[in-house]
Subunit: 428 residues, 2 copies
């Protein structure tokens, strides 16, 4: 009763190359007796060395023809990008009722609902474990493991490049620009790093996880996204002096009625697991009404972890089973509406540069009071060469509006020489 | 095309009560449109209040009759125990081809292979997510999420009672006996605490996880088990002074060819995630050849988390799919043979009580050298009231045989007043 699954792989980058080697070495890896055989591949550049023997494998010049080939039973999309050939090829395979495994977070975040509906209509399946957190089975955890729970919130570190840059800034006491340049030299960051450092990659991932967690469809448009470009070394240092580390936190809180989804730098207490997930690690907290707080951490990218996640999805396709793409049938899903965050109350880190003049502290304290914001901790550092004094404080929990008010009031104090920098303290 | 699944629940303790309420409140929780209905229950004491309305539910006097009832499509076993009625009832249900969900780690550790073979013969399925780490989906992670990887080792904290006791000993500076007595008063530990504090509960769990991780059948007989009864407050204190915390670590390393499986107290560096998983938390590291190091942490017990895990298993049964119980067909599984650990090389913590006499340090140093063991760190504390001096040291990595040798040599030094206490330092 066992069968052979003929696999087509579109995209032969680092992950694709790793996957091709794995499939060739381990055709019987999936449980239950079925085997896999790599029958077709496609990539932008046919002549690039891949470290894999593709002699017995048909080369396709276009992903669409690979997806549609009658020789291919299961289509793997590792091209990337929300639009263009990736979307067209995945759509073509699903239309033919072929199962698809993809690592494409942008595609799922942008068109997840439409693709899920198509898959469910044609009886195909669509898997995307590798799209989020690489080898960490976060998608499976939310989609299957927590189906008996109501998730309240998820929060984590979902972009390894940003985490590497922030970790290196602290470790080597260098600026964002200097560390980014090094990361680009080492190949950890793209030539155009905007997708990563602008927070968009993390946003794609948290949007997908939020859909699974709260029972909606991905809604990228409703996510607030701020990257790490404006994080300065002085903020990293001062945050550490107050017992915090700055991380790019992707988070979502809500329910099927709606969610607030956000990616932004935030302060995390030094002894918190998210503060200790350094380098290129990814990490995620899930808070469920029944299970309480789950934490999961691991390599969020790289050939090995991501190829392993794709392989797990292939095994899921082979195992079969009836499970809607996002846990609920696509016909019942709506894009998760955005919850107003006016009432969201958090502590904030405020960093000011002031001239060392009498009465300045009193004026700051008054400005905060006017905004209804009170102080949790306060740190004034010795005068720097410039004669400007950095002052940093953590507020008690306050609405974002109140914090914005406080920033505006403080900025109008004559001795304050630039608009204060405000960074949220993550709820943990 | 949707159907109703008629559920029978055997065992109405804390988890069973939570599950019953969940099933009654959320009959449509499983993805895909099928519903569940609680049709039968059984427990030792019919008259105990459960906080759930059982008026429309048939009461069975024996788990066997519930398991065999033609009214029941899916049998949930929450009785516990490797033998007796739990085993008989699960066997009866599987024989009839009925899917079974169980939270019974002892049963799966002792009879997993036999039950898996029976399930696969009759076409039933057998799920046990709730048997290990409560609401943390560790079974699903190993069985499905890592099917595209080769696991090298797993290590973690799998017994919340032991973790609570060790955490409280350190926090309140009390003895094992005192904290255990309090835990019993609070209901965190059983009247007969041997299963927990003797390490057997953690051993059941690591044996099950090792089977999934390495592709074998559970082999409880091959596990080495040591509990926390002999952990003294002085060791906890001295370990902390050296930068470590003592945890009950359950670990397994190996492959399908065999594994070394062990539960024992071990030192973990204070900044390590396992050292920071306090109280009743459970935590697990998985090291895979491709995914690298994964870490997962959460509530390992309790009504909410465990009932959520049972519910996830019910959803898996409903989703269907062909997946052997232990990932590989039972006919291909052998009990994981025990790997010799002679070559296992770890650092060790040695704690000595000595009389404050000249030449003692030299004699200890000589005894260690004789065994071929060298010193990584060394701490002598001020004399206590008794006139006895505690000396504690961490060795460089050495075989267990060499450490045993060193302990014997040291014990024979006249100034050493008792056999040194030796605790392994966990590889992390």
């Amino acid at each position: 009763m066992s069968r052979e699954w003929r696999i087509g792989v579109a995209g032969l980058g680092v992950v694709g190359g790793g996957l091709v080697r794995f499939l060739q070495e381990r055709p019987g890896f999936a449980p239950g007796g079925d085997t896999v055989r790599l029958v077709g591949v496609t990539a932008r550049d046919r002549d690039k060395p891949r470290g894999a023997d593709l002699s017995g494998v048909e080369w396709f010049d276009h992903p669409l023809s690979l997806a549609a080939s009658p020789e291919v039973d299961l289509f793997i999309e590792l091209i990337g990008g929300a639009e263009g050939v990736a979307r067209a090829a995945v759509t073509a395979a699903l239309k033919l009722g072929k199962p698809v495994v993809t690592a494409n977070k942008a595609l799922i975040a942008a068109h997840g609902l439409e693709l899920a509906a198509l898959a469910e209509r044609t009886g195909a399946s669509l898997h995307f474990e590798a799209a989020v957190m690489g080898g960490v089975p976060a998608v499976k955890m939310l989609r299957e493991g927590l189906v008996g729970d109501d998730v309240i919130s998820i929060a984590g570190i979902l972009n390894g490049t940003c985490n590497f840059i922030l970790t290196e800034m602290e470790r080597t006491e260098r600026s964002f620009a200097a560390v980014l340049a090094e990361a680009q030299r080492l190949g950890y960051a793209e030539a155009d790093p905007t997708t990563d450092v602008g927070g968009f990659d993390a946003a794609h991932k948290i949007v997908v996880l939020a859909a699974l967690a709260f029972g909606g469809a991905p809604n990228f448009a409703a996510a607030e996204v701020e990257g790490i470009q404006a994080v300065e070394l002085i903020d990293i240092r001062l945050a550490r002096d107050l017992g915090y580390r700055i991380k790019l936190i992707a988070e979502a809180a809500g329910s099927a009625r709606g969610a607030s989804v956000r990616v932004a730098p935030a302060l995390v207490p030094l002894n918190h697991p998210l503060a200790q997930a350094g380098g290129a690690l990814n990490a995620l907290f899930v808070e469920g009404q029944r299970v309480g707080r789950l934490y999961i951490q691991g390599a969020g990218a790289g050939a090995g972890p991501t190829a392993a996640a794709v392989a797990a999805d292939i095994a899921d396709v082979i195992a079969g089973g009836r499970r809607p793409v996002f846990g609920r049938p696509a016909t019942e899903l709506k894009p998760l509406p955005s919850l107003e965050r006016d009432r969201q109350i958090d502590k904030a880190f405020l960093r000011l540069m002031v001239r060392d003049e009498p009465g300045t502290i009193a004026a700051i304290s008054e400005a905060l009071a006017k905004a209804g914001v009170s102080i949790d901790s306060f740190l004034q550092r010795p005068v720097e060469d410039s004669g400007h004094v950095p002052i940093v404080l953590i507020t008690h929990p306050a609405t974002e509006m109140a914090i914005d008010d406080a920033v505006t009031h403080i900025a109008s104090i004559p001795a304050v020489i630039e608009r204060p920098r405000s960074i949220r303290v993550a709820r943990t």
